[in-house]
């Protein structure tokens, strides 16, 4: 368990949400973000300066269009390649190639206009490709949950590059010359290529061969992302256009004033974005949720556009653009990368390449065309602001539509990881033929399994089973007899009667049962000799067959042998009698079965309880309920009661609701009621969902959850169940807080030796208690909000596996916000301290000294926790706990009582033990 952090880890966790074990990869990605974005910043400065110096600014619009086309072409090529190469390898190759190109460009640079244009396009393509590839690499390294916390910090590398590399360009350009800055660009790109080799490789090993992915545009999720990318690009250009046109008018196109304004604006924006990126992005994604965080940008756009609609002046345009830029490059960029994470790697790489390499430039080009049209039509800044407002509304709608698709994609990711069944379903075409072939093979093993499967799948293979009646293998002969009794046919009677004299008793017994089924009331004469068979199982089978199928004469003839079996001194005979009574199907015969349920021999009792489930006589239900409290019979009694169906419901419910009833019986009832699947059963288990007894309460909660999940149509008090879910979560959080409060580093002197073992055991007990409460609450939450069911099922798996982050992400996306805030941090793979910080505002989680926790845990509702706390209090001689120990010694559960008494007795020979301790 990762719940104890060193000081450095604690600081990293608190400041940047970087958990232990994530530091190296996060730092490398931060640096990679710095070098990747830094190279683009340098390249952009060089190309702009050279372009504007060598060519007329009037050529700039053509450059925009050409750049968009070049990026789109390169993006399409990259999208094809992205599905075939590992993203890290692709980024390394792209970075190295552009480093070489930068060096070549510098060496070949002569200052011609053609070179300036080529440089313009090359830098644009380099920036688009490397940034897309960088985020694809980051998505491979971190899962969806870690991405929420870390993409902000990682993206801060790029923001820092904007500030620092931008400053460096300003300082170096006058000294070294603009063209020589290409060396810096090449160095940063080479740095990227070198850093990639240090990154941890994703878990999948071996040659890189990703499974084929469908075309991105076929996925509704990806189409929705595409719409979002397009709208983001269009809105961003609209706002950018407004700032520039308003600034140009404000400064009367004075280049010095404009440069000063944009310089100051850019510097302030970079610093703000860096702070936002480092300290707010991760938190925003965690607290607002992915879609809450993604809604911030269209909201900012809308607010900025509304401001411009009211006041189309410079400060309003600057504020709108600053807000948009700061959010877009931080919270929005980090959040939008998470949208791709549920996709399979190949689809993810292609989709990212298409979105950023094709759709984004297409959006920019579209915005340019729209703006050209609006300008030509003489649209005022207010009109453009109104258009921006409309576009931000469309964007918010697109986001709202994306949410269910994202959840669906997460579900698909979870299902993709589900273990594929190795076998062929029996209802598939060909299954029956396969079983027939196995029977014809007459190999004892395959043929026996085929008969077993045929019975389970209700397949009629009687004709194929008939020859097996004379097979040398006795077990196969028995199975064949049994199979012929499932769909009785008179033409099989002769073959079955021939087996009634089989040398093997179990074959004779099976033949007797099936022959009775085939011959019905004509079975009495041929079966009569078997009523005096030396083997009790054969006698019992003949009696059972006659009772079930032999009509009145059969019942009369079977009565005496049955009575003899019931009263036999041999337990085997009585057990056989119990089986006959269960299989005979005569409900009026419940009394002898009731007597056998209390037989002194355990084997007979077990057979009788099982038979009671087959007979389903309502009169036996109360006796079966009481057997739920007997460990060796509880399982069979539960199955028998489930077979009774609604007839057992009233008696089960009454016992469950009665606090004076045996607790062992009450605790066993909820799962049985859950199996009945009725509205009344749900009502009864839901009523016990807040029972004071912890074991009963948890079982009732899980039973209610199982019932509601299986039958969502049943009426239920969902508010009460939701309340029970929240309270159980509160208990889980408190157990976690107590375990953290008892961590060895919280003690002035950490307990050692025996007390150290006891402390470890106590913290384990608290962890287990918290996990049990959390699991019950998760099941209830999934039952109340079925969209979360798949995630809950995946999280319930012992190890959780690789799919755990997707499952948590799905929970985070589909649960209602109130439950999401309480439940999701509990199932996160975070250190305890980070989890507790997330829950502090929601639950009253006290901070206590370790000894105070021990004192409180002596009063814990879990007898096991209280017992271990008592043991620890005794080992540490926590004399302040004496009163609580004394109370526990007199009134706790047996294990806790014993531990409290031992603790008190160990102190000065029991001198501290209060006098009222008895026994």
């Amino acid at each position: 368990m990762r719940d104890e952090l060193r000081a450095r880890d604690r600081w990293l966790e608190a400041a940047f949400r970087v958990h232990p074990g994530e530091l190296r990869a996060t730092l490398l990605l931060f640096l990679l973000s710095f070098t990747t974005v830094g190279a683009f910043v340098v390249g952009r400065a060089v190309r702009d300066a050279i372009f504007l110096a060598r060519l007329s600014p009037a050529r700039l619009p053509f450059a925009y269009v050409a750049a968009a086309a070049a990026v789109a072409l390169a993006g399409a090529g990259h999208a094809r390649l992205a599905g075939r190469r590992r993203p890290a390898a692709l980024l390394a190759a792209t970075s190295a190639a552009f480093a070489v190109l930068a060096v070549a460009a510098r060496l070949a640079f002569e200052g011609g206009g053609g070179q300036a244009a080529a440089l313009y396009l090359g830098v644009e393509v380099m920036g688009a490709l490397t940034v897309v590839q960088f985020w694809t690499v980051a998505s491979e390294v971190h899962d969806a949950r870690a991405a929420r916390r870390l993409f902000g910090v990682i993206g801060a590398g790029g923001t820092l590059a904007n500030v620092l590399v931008g400053l460096a360009v300003r300082v170096l350009a006058p000294r070294a010359g603009v063209a020589n800055l290409l060396w810096l660009c090449a160095a940063l790109l080479a740095g990227s290529a070198a850093l990639i080799t240090r990154l941890p490789r994703p878990a999948a090993g071996g040659p890189f061969r990703l499974p084929a992915a469908p075309a991105p545009w076929r996925s509704p999720h990806l189409r929705a992302i595409g719409a979002l990318v397009l709208l983001t690009a269009v809105c961003a250009i609209f706002l950018d256009y407004q700032l520039k046109s308003i600034a140009a008018a404000h400064f009367r196109r004075d280049p010095v004033a404009l440069a000063a304004f944009f310089g100051a604006f850019s510097g302030a924006l970079g610093a703000a974005a860096l702070a936002l990126q480092l300290f707010a992005t991760g938190r925003a994604l965690e607290r607002l949720g992915l879609f809450g965080a993604l809604f911030v940008l269209p909201a900012a756009f809308g607010a900025g556009a509304a401001l411009l609609l009211v006041a189309p002046v410079l400060w309003a345009a600057a504020a709108a653009k600053a807000g948009e830029d700061a959010i877009r490059y931080t919270v929005h960029d980090a959040g939008s990368q998470i949208l791709y994470l549920p996709l399979p790697p190949r689809a993810r790489a292609r989709a990212k390449a298409l979105a950023d390499g094709v759709l984004k430039p297409a959006g920019i080009a579209l915005a340019g065309l729209l703006l050209a049209g609006l300008s030509a039509a003489g649209a005022s800044p207010k009109a453009i602001a109104a258009a921006t407002l409309l576009l931000s509304g469309a964007w918010a709608s697109a986001l709202a539509a994306l949410r269910p698709r994202y959840a669906a994609e997460l579900r698909a990711a979870l299902l993709r990881g589900g273990s594929a069944s190795g076998g062929v379903p029996l209802d598939e075409p060909g299954a029956a033929d396969a079983l027939r072939a196995a029977l014809r093979s007459e190999e004892p093993g395959p043929a026996a399994r085929a008969l077993e499967l045929a019975g389970l799948a209700d397949l009629d293979l009687a004709d194929e089973a008939l020859p097996l009646l004379s097979h040398p293998d006795a077990d196969l002969r028995r199975r064949a007899c049994d199979h012929l009794g499932i769909r009785p046919r008179f033409r099989h009677a002769g073959a079955l009667l021939a087996r009634c004299v089989d040398p093997e008793p179990r074959v004779r017994a099976a033949a007797a049962r099936s022959a009775c089924a085939v011959l019905a009331d004509e079975a009495l004469a041929p079966l009569t000799p078997l009523l005096s068979d030396p083997h009790p199982a054969v006698r019992a089978a003949a009696v059972e067959g006659l009772l079930r199928h032999g009509g009145l004469d059969g019942v009369v003839s079977a009565a005496a042998p049955l009575r003899a079996l019931c009263g036999s001194p041999q337990p085997e005979d009585r057990a056989a009698a119990a089986r006959v009574l269960g299989g005979g199907g005569v409900r009026g015969f419940y009394k002898p079965l009731h007597a056998l349920m209390a037989d002194p021999d355990a084997r007979v009792r077990r057979a009788a309880v099982t038979a009671a489930g087959r007979l389903r006589a309502p009169e036996l239900a109360p006796a079966l309920v009481y057997l739920l409290g007997e460990p060796d019979l509880a399982g069979r009694a539960a199955v028998a009661l489930s077979a009774h169906g609604a007839a057992a419901e009233r008696v089960l419910g009454k016992a469950l609701a009665n606090p004076r009833e045996d607790l062992a019986v009450r605790r066993a009832i909820p799962p049985v009621l859950a199996g009945l699947g009725t509205a009344a059963a749900l009502e009864r288990v839901a009523a016990a969902a807040e029972d004071p007894d912890r074991t009963l309460r948890l079982r009732a909660q899980r039973a209610a959850a199982a019932l509601l999940s299986a039958r969502p149509d049943l009426p239920a008090d969902r508010v009460a169940l939701g309340r029970a879910c929240e309270r159980e979560l509160g208990r889980a959080w408190r157990a976690l807080a107590a375990a953290a409060g008892l961590a060895p580093d919280r003690w002035r002197e950490p307990p050692a030796l025996e007390a150290g073992d006891a402390l470890r055991l106590l913290r384990e007990a608290l962890r287990e208690k918290g996990e049990a409460s959390g699991a019950a609450a998760l099941e209830l939450a999934a039952a109340l909000q079925p969209e979360a069911a798949l995630a809950a099922a995946r999280l319930a798996r012992p190890a959780g596996g690789r799919q755990r982050p997707h499952a948590v992400e799905l929970l985070d996306t589909v649960l209602d916000p109130r439950l999401q805030r309480r439940l999701v941090p509990l199932v996160e793979d975070w250190p305890a301290e980070a989890k507790l910080r997330a829950a502090e505002a929601l639950y009253d989680l006290p901070r206590r000294r370790p000894a105070e926790w021990v004192g409180e845990l002596l009063r814990d509702e879990s007898g096991w926790v209280a017992a271990v706390a008592a043991h620890l209090a005794g080992a540490l001689r926590l004399e302040g706990c004496a009163a609580d120990l004394a109370a526990l010694a007199n009134g706790g559960e047996a294990t806790a009582r014993e531990a409290a008494r031992a603790a008190l007795a160990s102190w000065d020979g029991g001198a501290l033990a209060p006098r009222e301790v008895t026994g």
């Binding site: 399982g635 007990a765 017992a867």
Partner: protein, 138 residues
Amino acid sequence: MTTVEKVLWLQKLDLFAGAPGEDLVAVAAAVEEVEAAPGEVLARAGEPGGALHLLTEGKLRVRSGGASVEVPPGRAFGALEVFAPAPWSATVEAAAPSKLLRLERDDLDGILAGRPALARSLLAALAARVRAARTGSP
């Protein structure tokens, strides 16, 4: 010995190290405290075995094929026999006044029914033993 103390002893065994504490309470309730005088034979080679013995105090001597080794508290024998009865492969006797916890096979069977987490942890421990035996690591 209290139930908590028995659980602490049981957790020293690799078999139970990963088992949930509350499940081990059931195991602790089923174990029997046994005392053995020096020289008392607890298991004889070739005779049927079917119980787990965990030494909590004293010392045991294990004899097999003429060789003999003494084992300290915290060690156990019969960890496999408690799952599948088999003749003891060695003779075990007390080398000093000793106390042991004994768990019978039938009792373990009853405890495992309905405790999947305990069963899973036992399987994991057995798998680790098989792996260790295969790789020759201790």
